[in-house]
């Protein structure tokens, strides 16, 4: 066992570190409001700098402006960016998930047109999958694209939880193109203009904290050209799964964890009553045990990644542990501070508001447990009432059930 870099990796890390050391003064602050245009523009400029230095799209192929390196180098860059105390790229969703999907399923024209501006932060992207009535059961989406006689499409519907839509140029959108086949089959992926899209309305969705980090996006008779289809008509589900696979890679090996174990320990260590309180100590011990376990399981996963294995569904358990431990850590830190922790500028306040929603992000805990139970432990799936039934019929049944 060895947690050190190989000589080649160490050399790469050194190169990254040196660049960051020389340029970190040019970086904007790590945190800022996504509603603040000046801040977002500064983050775009910083992404461009990172891209030009080869620190964005590290694992993208060279022909599309990437570095053609592996996920290990991407992780190294994430770690070094975090260490330097500077923000990373602005468009994590585009570069981490949607770009790789375009590279895998897009046409040559799409790759040529979109990947460069995405990489350099000139055009930020958003992911338009979830809907008010389709989250855990993503294939139940209702946003409808109908093909016109000239081959173009007309899109109507609503998406939700859309991060970065406030300033996105484009989105990758999953729509239903054929309601008369079973639900996973009648889906198609589209590239949709957001900023300049006629009939597109972006509305901020305020969260517990009062900030609007994500949005609702409405589509009213939005016209899409035939060339907007990604991966073929009716193949939307497979294309979406590619995005979700890259999502696992992006979330699992992102540089930021939520809440700092060191800050929690400092808060308690600084309070003489707290540091001798057996309940506080037990909670602290349990939380740190969980967070440390996630860290070392991350190294185990990284070892497999280095050997060419893509993280499987078991990665969901790390998310469950991470979120629950972060909730427990924040509760403990705030309990030690008292009501003052709820003051908006207090370091615990933001996490208190942010974490409840994170439990549902990227897969709710019950859904992750279903997936892990079925795909890792091999337990049988729950019986389903929607298998093989055309989507339109399912919808009719739902309406009937509600009416009776």
């Amino acid at each position: 066992m060895d947690l050190n870099d190989t000589p080649e990796q160490a050399e790469y890390r050194e190169k990254v570190r040196t660049w960051l050391e020389a340029h970190k003064d040019e970086a904007p602050s790590r945190s800022g409001s996504s509603e603040d245009k000046t801040y977002i523009d500064a983050r775009r400029a910083w992404q461009r700098e990172l891209a030009e230095a080869g620190l964005a799209g590290v694992a993208w192929p060279r022909e599309y402006g990437g570095q053609g390196l592996g996920p290990i180098e991407q992780v190294t860059v994430n770690q070094e960016i975090s260490r330097a105390g500077v923000p990373g790229i602005l468009d994590v969703i585009g570069i981490g998930m949607l770009g790789p999907c375009l590279i895998a399923h897009g046409s040559e024209e799409q790759k040529t047109r979109y990947l460069g501006p995405m990489l350099h932060g000139d055009e930020v992207w958003c992911q338009l999958f979830s809907e008010p009535a389709a989250g855990s059961d993503l294939a139940a989406i209702q946003a409808r694209a109908r093909q016109n006689d000239d081959g173009s499409w007309t899109l109507n519907g609503q998406k939700v939880w859309t991060t970065n839509a406030q300033f996105a140029s484009y989105g990758l959108l999953l729509a239903r193109t054929d309601p008369d086949v079973p639900k996973h089959k009648g889906l198609t992926m589209f590239i949709v203009p957001i900023e300049d899209g006629e009939g597109v309305t972006v509305r901020g969705l305020r969260q517990i904290s009062g900030e609007a980090e994500f949005n609702e996006v409405f589509f009213d008779d939005v016209r899409l050209e035939e060339e907007a289809v990604v991966g073929g008509v009716g193949n939307g589900w497979g294309t979406a799964l590619t995005v979700l696979m890259f999502e696992r890679l992006t979330i699992g090996f992102g540089s930021d964890s939520f809440g700092s174990p060191a800050r929690l320990a400092e808060t308690i260590a600084g309070d003489p009553a707290a540091r001798r309180d057996s309940d506080v100590r037990r909670r602290l011990g349990e939380i740190l045990t969980e967070l440390t376990a996630v860290r070392f399981n991350g190294y185990r996963a990284l070892t497999l990644l280095q050997r060419g294995q893509i993280p499987g569904p078991e990665a969901g358990l790390a998310k469950v542990t991470m979120v629950n431990a972060a909730v427990a850590a924040t509760d403990l830190g705030a309990d030690v501070v008292g009501p003052e922790a709820l003051e908006p500028d207090n370091e615990w306040s933001y996490l208190i508001s942010f974490l409840p929603g994170l439990k549902s992000a990227g897969g709710t805990e019950p859904i992750l447990r279903n997936t892990v139970g079925e795909r890792v432990l091999g337990l049988p799936p729950e019986p389903r009432l929607d298998k093989g039934i055309p989507f339109s019929e399912l919808r009719a049944k739902e309406k009937e059930a509600l009416a009776s």
Partner: protein, 376 residues
């Protein structure tokens, strides 16, 4: 980045599994509940496999391996509830090896069987070295030592010492007159040594109350760091052993959840069962990550070993409690009877959580380590 087993470690694990498979250890665990003397002594098997000399340097006839290797063996023992005296042996050999003690060649051949008398290193809330008490939450003071040259005279009682019965050499940790901790090697058959065998609930775990009344021993040339290290080696081993037991609980429960049908479907298809079993898996995976951490830290980052070993013990202790209870839940009524193996794992969990300071003390040590790092 390489946090995985080496080929040699995979081989060691497979060899351990193979050696253990030749003994009906789970059946023995059940039989011994009614007749403790029926429990076969697996020490000769451990010697044959070379586990007694795992940590002993090659110069002294041992294998010169690391604590992580011993943990892999402990994990295999835990998987089948095998009564192999690793908890007593391995920390004892760690101390003897660090001291370069004269007993090492005999220890390495298996001729001389040592046992570690566990003593907990001081912490912010519990000053001084302490040992398990006979009963209650108040920990007992470590034995007192009066040192005269390389001879030590020892007085005190250490309760619930794993693997004490049958051991020939006691590795005792004691406090000298000036409060500093020392270690001494004491022949189990010397005057002033009494070992009272005890069985509590889990018949696979041989325990003993050890009383020293002016017992004479040989001073071991080791510092306090080695004595603290032995405590964390013991914590790592009980963690590893628990991880093995959790794996069996999970495998058995999953298999049953696929086969048992209610209301027309396998019970494993219900979320109530599925989510409980994924929770066992989650805790198992977390414990395993920490097992690797402890093994890595012992070798490459000794400063972090107390944290790593304590975190591994804490996680694995909770995991075993949870997994043993889940196994009973998933199996329904039969899981709570002697017809099934579940109670044997439950008994293991019940005793393990209360030995060597208890799971809760390991959790507190995790807090202690992070608070002292933060509050320096």
């Amino acid at each position: 980045m390489n946090l995985a087993l080496s080929d040699e470690q995979v081989f060691l694990r497979e060899a351990a599994r193979g050696a253990l498979s030749r003994h009906k250890t789970v059946e023995a665990a059940r039989d011994a509940l009614e007749n403790p003397s029926a429990l076969p002594d697996l020490y000769p098997m451990a010697v044959e496999a070379g586990w007694n000399g795992l940590l002993v340097d090659e110069d002294h006839g041992g294998a010169g391996l690391g604590v992580f290797d011993a943990m892999l063996v402990a994990e295999e023992c835990g998987r089948v509830l095998a009564a192999v005296p690793l908890l007593g042996l391995v920390p004892a050999t760690a101390i003897l090896n660090a001291a370069g003690d004269e007993s090492l060649p005999a220890v390495a051949t298996g001729e001389l069987r040592p046992v570690y008398l566990p003593a907990r290193p001081p912490s912010e809330l519990e000053q001084g070295w302490t040992v398990e008490p006979l009963s209650g939450l108040t920990r007992a003071e470590a034995p007192r030592a009066s040192v005269d040259g390389d001879r030590v005279s020892l007085d005190g009682t250490v309760a619930f010492v794993p693997d004490a019965p049958g051991a020939a050499l006691l590795v005792v940790i004691a406090e000298s007159e000036d409060g500093s901790p020392i270690a001494a090697a004491v022949a189990a058959d010397s005057d002033g040594v009494a070992v009272e065998p005890v069985m509590r609930y889990d018949a696979t775990r041989s325990l003993g109350h050890v009383t020293l009344s002016g017992a004479s021993g040989r001073l071991l040339d080791v510092g306090a760091d080695v004595l603290a290290d032995a405590w964390y080696v013991a914590q790592s081993l009980i963690a590893a052993e628990s991880i093995g037991a959790v794996q069996t609980c999970l495998d058995t429960s999953v298999e049953y959840a696929k086969e048992r049908f209610t209301f027309g479907r396998a019970i494993g298809s219900y979320q109530a069962i599925k989510h409980e079993l994924t929770e066992v898996l989650r805790q198992l995976e977390n414990s395993r990550g920490l097992e690797y951490y402890a093994g890595w830290a012992r070798k490459d980052k000794p400063d972090e070993f107390p944290l790593a070993a304590s975190a591994a013990r804490s996680a694995a202790g909770h995991a075993l409690d949870f997994a043993a209870r889940s196994m009973i839940n998933v199996h329904g009524g039969i899981g709570a009877t002697w017809e099934h193996d579940a109670p044997l794992f439950f008994r293991r969990a019940q005793l393990s959580r209360r030995l060597l300071g208890g799971t809760h003390d390991a959790t507190d040590r995790v807090a202690e380590e992070s608070l002292s790092a933060a509050g320096a």
